[in-house]
Amino acid sequence: MAGPKYPGFDTLALHAGQSPDPATGSRAVPIYQTTSYVFRDTEHAASLFNMERAGHVYSRISNPTVAVLEERIAALEGGVGAIATASGQAALHLAVATLMGAGGHIVASNSLYGGSHNLLGYTLKRFGIDTTFIDPRNMDAWKKSIRPETRLLFGETLGNPGLDVLDIPAVSAIAHEANVPLLVDATFTTPYLMKPFELGADLLYHSATKFLGGHGVAIGGVLVDSGRFDWEASGKFDLLTAPYEGFHGMDFEEESGTRAFLLRARREGARDFGACMAPMTAFQILQGVETLHLRMPRHVESTRRIVAFLKSNAAVQKVIYPELPEHPDHALAKKLLAKGCGAVFSFEIKGGRPAGKTFIESLRVFSHLANVGDAKSLVIHPATTTHYRMSDADLARAGITGGTVRLSIGLEDPADLVEDLDRALKASQR
């Protein structure tokens, strides 16, 4: 036999999860726009419901088009499987709700997307799940914040807004020492730039709305399990290792140690919370995934060019990007993000809020909106939008100044992007 070889990333991005449709021969992924699936007979129905046969019952639980996206992302990440959700936020909620109930505790980086901060800091607290937020660069804080009821450590591969690089090998070692898993939000890096499971993370999710889709037409999320965390040995996850009355007394870990988390997430979380992905959404995100390996290098290349331009511009106070030597995580980024640090970054414009406002309003190519990871270049001014209620002192505590601008670099001609920024920067300083 010849030596074994796995298909490359680019091939998986195009093929994983889908064979030509057996019914029609369709090469493209068909959109199975259906709520439900006809059973062959009552026996077949009963065995599908009781997980004795593989297949689809109802599209809230699984759908053939959505399953292609799930399998493809699991393949690109090197996980055992995935569940696609209505949004990235739904993926985070599903992960948390599968691992703990009231009384559970999470230790999370304080450098998070605002929506995640809201969910953990306010909303889940209402349901009895508490979160301690810590500085992700402080390993002692990770360790010291773990309590007997802690069930999860959580951070972003690249944090918000300071682009903190999460030291996944170090934080996962702390998590595993405490017998709890590490979940990461890998939205900014995608599997093209970083493979969190290879670094020690146990679970991850994406807001597929961003780079995975890349086109800004669909909201979605994907939760992926590495299958490597030993729930039984941990002794802290009765939800996965004890019979569950809500599903025929199933002990998920007994069914399969590697698939226990996804079994419960699908059989309980998808079934009961119902934050599923629509088949059309899965199709649209798949169109993006098929070119992820072509788009990401271009995103990074253009970002580097724009970072260099801004660094040398007199109107710019500071550029925050981990590839710059002055970034506190520069050395870590070189180690963990060898292919690049993504295409979302911040800079500070001289002149505070008024200059930031003028700058934004002078741009012609960049679109002013609340999103990142689009094929089109995007810009937002946190002090007048996402954080507009905050005083300058509160902004400073969040690492934001009145002049902070966040860019998401798209796939336009980079020369046009530089020209657009140059004109707006000049306008901001008048």
Partner: protein
């Protein structure tokens, strides 16, 4: 279900049912380096359809205490101690199929039927694979994963929605203690009693084979099938060596028909 064999902790999946002396019993035996969850869907089906199910973790695998047993005959004897029912059928996959064959030959008074999934005889393992496993080199897991599935698997669709078969195999292999995979592969490679044992098997035997199996190709089972007096074969198109995952329904349907 946790129990003990020769004073050592052992585990068998029972599909959440207590053993019932009035029901027929089916034991499931996994392949090299794997565990009871290889038979997830199929063992669950029989557990909910009138059978006592014992999908065992062989010693040193899954939740069963090691060390692993170095010979197929030793595994067969262990199985016949682990299953306390006076008579039972065995469904074995790959190495587990050799265990089923050997158990039927050595304990003919106890074994009623054997289903041999993804089996070959002799079950030679390449030097490259054996040597990587002996070094506990990850390359052995790669070979197991890639050769253990049909070529279309990484580019195709998993019948189990949202799951990635390669990832699941790798994750299971990574849980093994060092040396266990080598123990199993060596036991398969050195098993030399196949034809003698096949001649002793008097119970019905079913071969379930994958047309695209690269590890135990269909033709490599022929000699064994011919040597068993009451054997039949089912060949499943499009499946490789991991038939229970790659073709779960076809595998289950063949088992239902055979164990009826």
């Amino acid at each position: 279900m946790n129990f003990a064999v020769d004073g050592k902790r052992a585990f068998a999946y029972t599909a959440a049912h207590e053993p019932d002396a009035k029901k027929p019993t089916v034991a499931f035996v996994h392949g090299a380096g794997l565990d009871h969850s290889s038979f997830g869907l199929q063992s669950r089906y029989f557990g909910y359809h009138g059978r006592n199910v014992l999908a065992v973790d062989l010693p040193g695998h899954g939740r069963s205490e090691g060390p692993p047993i170095p010979t197929v005959a030793g595994m067969a004897d262990w199985l016949c101690k682990a299953v306390t029912a006076p008579r039972f059928s065995i469904v074995g996959h790959s190495m587990g199929a050799l265990v089923a064959l050997e158990a039927a030959a050595r304990h003919p008074d106890r074994v009623e039927r054997i289903a041999l999934i993804g089996v070959a005889y002799p079950m030679r393992v390449s030097e490259e694979f054996l040597s990587a496993a002996q070094r506990n080199d990850y390359a052995a897991f790669d070979m197991h994963t890639i050769w253990g599935h049909a070529p279309q698997v990484p580019l195709g669709a998993n019948p189990n929605p949202g799951m990635w078969m390669y990832g699941d195999t790798q994750a299971r292999l990574e849980r093994l203690a060092p040396g266990v995979l080598h123990n199993d592969l060596k036991a398969c490679h050195e098993y030399a009693d196949g034809l003698d044992s096949a001649a002793k098997v008097k119970c019905p035997a079913l071969f379930i084979l994958g047309r695209r199996d690269a590890m135990t190709p269909v033709k490599a089972s022929r000699q064994l099938a011919e040597a068993i007096e009451h054997s039949t074969s089912v060949v499943i198109n499009f499946s490789g060596h991991s038939l229970m995952a790659e073709a779960p329904d076809a595998t289950l349907d063949a088992l239902i028909e055979f164990l009826r």
